[in-house]
Amino acid sequence: MATTKKLQTKTVSVNFGPQHPSMHGVLFVRVELDGELVVHVEPHIGYLHRSMEKIFENSYYNQCIAISDRADYLGGYFNETVIALAAERLMEIEVPPRAEYLRVILMELTRIANHIFYWGNYGQDLGSFWTTALWAWREREMYYDIVEEISGYRQHPNYIRIGGVYKDTTDGWLQKVLDFCDEMEKRLKIYENLVTYNEIFLARSKNVGKITKKWAIDWGITGPLLRCAGVKWDLRKDDPYSVYDQFEFDIPTTRNGDCWDAYRVRMDEITESIKIVRQAVSKIPAGPIRCKLPMLVEPPKGDTYARIEGPRGELGCYLVSDGSKKPYRLKLRAPAFVNLASITEFLKDQLIGDFIALLAIYDPVMGEVDR
């Protein structure tokens, strides 16, 4: 007999970011909370926008390569390679095989380092108090040592050139790479023991979020997120570039599309990358590492689109050249940018704890998103 007038509740509007202790960079997400449930998600990006594309139009190609490192700052080699691939396709030149192999080795090493970094951040976001994050940074130190030896820089390498790479390997570098692979395998076992089958970790990741195939293709999601939804798609196998067709490796795919699967796909990709690096090191031919090209390159007039499989998805470069020494339009299609657009739908109707975990599987690098 009591009338049930609907209890008026108001939603609380909370800002996550742009500065926050979880390590995703300057991402600002404004959420409306109804208790612990997220009702509305509104991302605001652009805090790291540096007008890279305008700068590209005013720089020579070598300068563009140096600047593009800063886009995906965790995976320097990928950005450089994609611009070099686009320019080489326009100019229709062939890169010497030793340079291709070196590019592949460095890209796969960077992929390993990226996925380890994701592992560290994922544990930290779920609350294991920086343990995983600091262990991940320790692995990255080993990677930085290798990379510093060949390119001179740790983080922004500026190593790939149009027509090849910058410098040849030093003595013993290839052995160091193999040692890194062995060490990485040993440590992966330790990491899997610590985190992967931990009860709490499973409880926080299994059945949290669901990416379906149709939804992922609709939103243009590529990379590990697409593979965890069940689409076996990897540009290294399905649209091969460089010398990837000469290596044997698998594409790990899972079916459920939850946090656990995204984690699993990335961990398995590390194993596959180690395989590729080992094969590349054993097969690398001797020879020149660079085409004979002038320092300021002049691709002919035209436009092309080149894409590679970056650690977050399809990294593409749309290059329009007007025959001069500077690109007329160089657009980087950043995978994190395209993937991140989907959080308005994906993160709705989740609890806050799940919200953080799901944001972590996007693995956004704000340099790439904002450029």
Partner: protein, 189 residues
């Protein structure tokens, strides 16, 4: 001229002129470039997505380019099943700068079209939320156009209407600016 582009050209022959009119078609480094009139862009995208011999279900990149007398919007499409690579281009001009949005077909057009809007000033009709994405909401001008300068955008310099006296500084600042470093900072031997 590899076999994939031949297959794509073969498949493109199945497009009737009632769907949309291809103004120009050429092969461009592995992609098939199609030029369409901007009024038909939505029909073109829809046909390319739904036509059973084309089935381009992946729109992976939308870019804008500013050629000085006109601007172009380039849609790069790919088919997961059949492997077609198509680049669809539409021309707009500064005065006549409206296009239909691809959002109803692919949600991935959301942020990419917003970025083109704020950088080039091309409006997309039918977009749910067309406002600035990377730049501030009140940013003047369209940065990636060719007539926008790279630096020294004077509208953004803050005007300082107070004189030195209002800050408590002397009118002639040269005394303050003298430093104590002698010999241009070289060490005295």
């Amino acid at each position: 001229m590899d076999e994939q582009t031949l297959k794509t050209e073969e498949a493109l022959k199945s497009i009737k002129s009632s769907d949309f009119k291809i103004l120009e078609q050429k092969i461009n480094h592995g992609f098939v470039d199609l030029y369409v009139d901007k009024k038909e862009i939505f029909k073109a995208l829809e046909t390319l997505k739904k036509n059973p011999s084309l089935r381009c279900n992946n729109l992976h990149c939308i870019s804008g380019v500013d050629y000085v007398d006109h601007m172009e919007v380039v849609y790069h499409l790919y088919s997961y099943n059949l492997g077609h690579k198509i680049a669809l281009k539409a021309r707009v001009t500064k005065e006549d700068n409206e296009l239909a949005s691809a959002y109803p077909l692919w949600k991935t057009a959301d942020w990419q079209e917003r970025e083109i809007f704020e950088m080039y000033g091309i409006k997309f009709n039918g977009h749910p939320n067309l406002r600035n994405l990377l730049l501030t909401d009140d940013f003047p001008g369209y940065p990636l156009r060719k007539d926008f300068p790279l630096a020294n955008n004077e509208e953004w310099l803050l005007e300082d209407t107070q004189t030195a006296k209002d800050y408590g500084l002397p009118e002639d600042l040269s005394e303050l600016l003298k430093t104590n470093v002698k010999n241009n900072g070289e060490k005295k031997s």
